[in-house]
Symmetry: C2
Subunit: 362 residues, 2 copies
DNA sequence: TGTACCTTTGTGTGCGCACACGGATTGATT
DNA sequence: AATCAATCCGTGTGCGCACACAAAGGTACA
């Protein structure tokens, strides 16, 4: 009998100690049938006692099982944020390539009612082993989530959460806290309690996303609690009529020339930044969200002061890792994973861009 | 012949295509001797052409090689920052447990001349496969680095870098940029260009660490460039005489009652925070570094406004991963890995604490 | 007592790879 | 022609595990 040079406990060690064969131990570990109560109890005892930790690599090698993961995201054409999420997922999948993991990404039109449910149905027909979704509204998402539950397919929400649908896990930012934090920073910029304008993105008469609403709520809560003297204006843009944006801004600023500070809770701060650059207005203090290429450009040009980022790459990567740990390593995973709320300015942005591919020499 | 159901290319596939046996392919891959030029060339061609990617898990399983990694850190008694680094390293090691990686951590007294070199010598005698070090001064560190180079043992610098000693990689923050960024934030807090005091930690007549000096330089550079009107005071604490700290502060603030804003470039901002709480002075605006428990307490109590963190856990984790990729996966690693410069306040700190163990329910 | 059937258990093979061993071929030397 | 060394190459075994298969033991019934 070869002795075990490493300290790691093998199935064989368990088998010897329990006085059975490796086959029996294997059956107990995998909960397969065909084991007497006595043997089962004995083996379970030893497993517990020796704290057996299977070698998942050997396991994956032997089982040769394939895993199909599916991801459902909003349709985006070159929208950096979602592309970063995809990049993070792909990166994680490639590091697990020896575990036979395949990732399939499909899309839904977030502005078309019913699109999510339809895409979800198609997805379920492929019987994936695990799912990652950026949810739509609760009503839209519900049926898909229920079907997944019924088929015992684990699913993760990314970007925004719907707790009532009980996902395996959630990866994203706490929008409310994020708005609250943004307010703290903005209030520093708004000296003498000067007024602030909130730029909003409206679709179909409502705010375009839950995130936007929650962030604004957090923001207003901070202002209410800490600097109620700050007057808040609102300026609404309309997703459907982007060509009107400039006119809206012109109107607003000629009506309120004293406003020198603004924030937006969607990812399109560049609308304002680029406008300020165009009209050559300097010193307007602006905050926004997400490191889209156009936002970064404004940040570096000085037309946006601060951006709050939500680590899309890490979200993507972590969500794949989560499914990996759940499906393959069979570990317990954390139900909530709030990404850090990071403040980015011209001065520290270099350490946030392309952290995964950067090989610079600063 | 069993056919290859997965798309992954195996050694066997290479062997068949090259018209040789797996043994020969194996020899080529590992650069072992005993292969004719003709075979070698042929195999290398096919390897290239089919883009062979070895299954590192199978490889590790078969080779059963053990890796001893060693880490050399400053002596610290419950100093949270270094403990976080250790925790990150241990966490990474545990995820790689099936690769037979062992981590040994040893310490040196950073305030005793010669201690680093001595600890380094002892470490090298154990012939580790890879090393992670928090370097001391360049002179102190040099001999150890040279010996490691000579023995072909890869080493990583963590926390602070000494480029001239040419480590395999570096994980840490860019101190200069970090100070620069801190100045941007502080200048927002210092309305009307009010004066600012820099609290420094002195050891043996000099600043206690490179980091401290570099951060201060970056800070001063920003102030010089952007708000030269801000007057900068200095208040020196002495590592050897902590009992004098309060007295020094009393003296300083009675001489300069108008100073209401301060920053420190070491991790001991809590000295000031706790003092302000003790004398019940509110509203003093304070910035500092690192999420030590005592700093966090002050942050939550409001006696410190902002902390810049440098992700010690991630540093530890990433540095182990780096050695893993270099030694086992034989991948190329990045020579510089600057951690993001993150701004933490009461409002976002919850998303930075214990990110690895948190299972909360915010 | 034999047969059929079920339950319980052990054994063998292969996953992709590393590495030891031994076989084949060649050329040089006696 | 025989011997030997050197070079080159193929095969076999095992890493820890999953899983198929077969063997062993027990029970029921004719």
């Amino acid at each position: 009998m070869r002795e075990n040079k490493s300290e790691r406990i093998r199935i064989k060690d368990i088998a010897i100690k329990a006085g059975v064969s490796v086959g029996t131990v294997d059956r107990v570990i995998h909960g397969r049938s065909g084991v007497s109560e006595a043997s089962k109890k004995k083996v379970e005892e030893i497993l517990e006692q020796m704290n057996y930790q299977p070698n998942m690599y050997a396991s994956a090698l032997a089982s040769n099982k394939k895993y199909n993961l599916t991801c459902l995201l909003p349709l985006h054409t070159q929208e950096d944020y979602w592309m970063d999420i995809e990049a993070g997922m792909k990166h994680a999948v490639s590091t697990y390539k020896d575990f036979n993991i395949r990732l399939n990404i499909s899309y839904y039109d977030q502005y078309e009612s019913g699109a999510f449910a339809e895409a979800g149905k198609k997805m379920i027909e492929t019987m994936p082993d695990g799912v990652i979704m950026a949810p739509s509204s609760e009503e839209e998402t519900k049926s898909t989530a229920l079907q997944l539950k019924e088929k015992n397919i684990p699913f993760i929400f990314i970007d925004s959460n719907i707790k009532s649908l009980n996902p395996l896990s959630f990866y994203g930012q706490n929008s409310h806290s994020s708005g609250y934090f943004a307010a703290r920073i903005l209030s520093l910029m708004a000296e003498h309690n000067e007024p602030v304008v909130i730029f909003r993105l409206i679709y179909g008469g409502k705010l375009g996303s839950n995130q936007q609403r929650n962030r604004e709520e957090g923001f207003r809560e901070y202002i209410r609690n800490n600097c109620p003297g700050i007057k808040l204006y609102e300026l609404n843009f309309y997703v459907k009529n982007p060509e009107n944006n400039e006119k809206l801004m012109e109107e607003f600023f000629s009506a309120h020339p004293e406003v020198n500070c603004g924030i937006t809770f969607n990812s399109k701060a560049y609308i304002i930044g680029e406008y300020m650059q165009k009209i050559k207005r300097k010193g307007f203090k602006m905050m926004g969200y997400d490191l889209l290429r156009r936002n970064v450009k404004c940040l570096k040009a000085g037309s946006i002061d601060f951006i709050i980022a939500q680590q899309p790459t890490e979200q993507g990567q972590s969500s794949i890792e989560c499914l990996f740990e759940h499906l393959i390593l069979k570990k317990e995973v954390k139900p909530y994973n709030y990404m850090p709320i990071t403040l980015i300015s011209k001065e520290n942005i270099d350490f946030y861009l392309d952290a995964h591919v950067r090989t610079n020499n600063i």
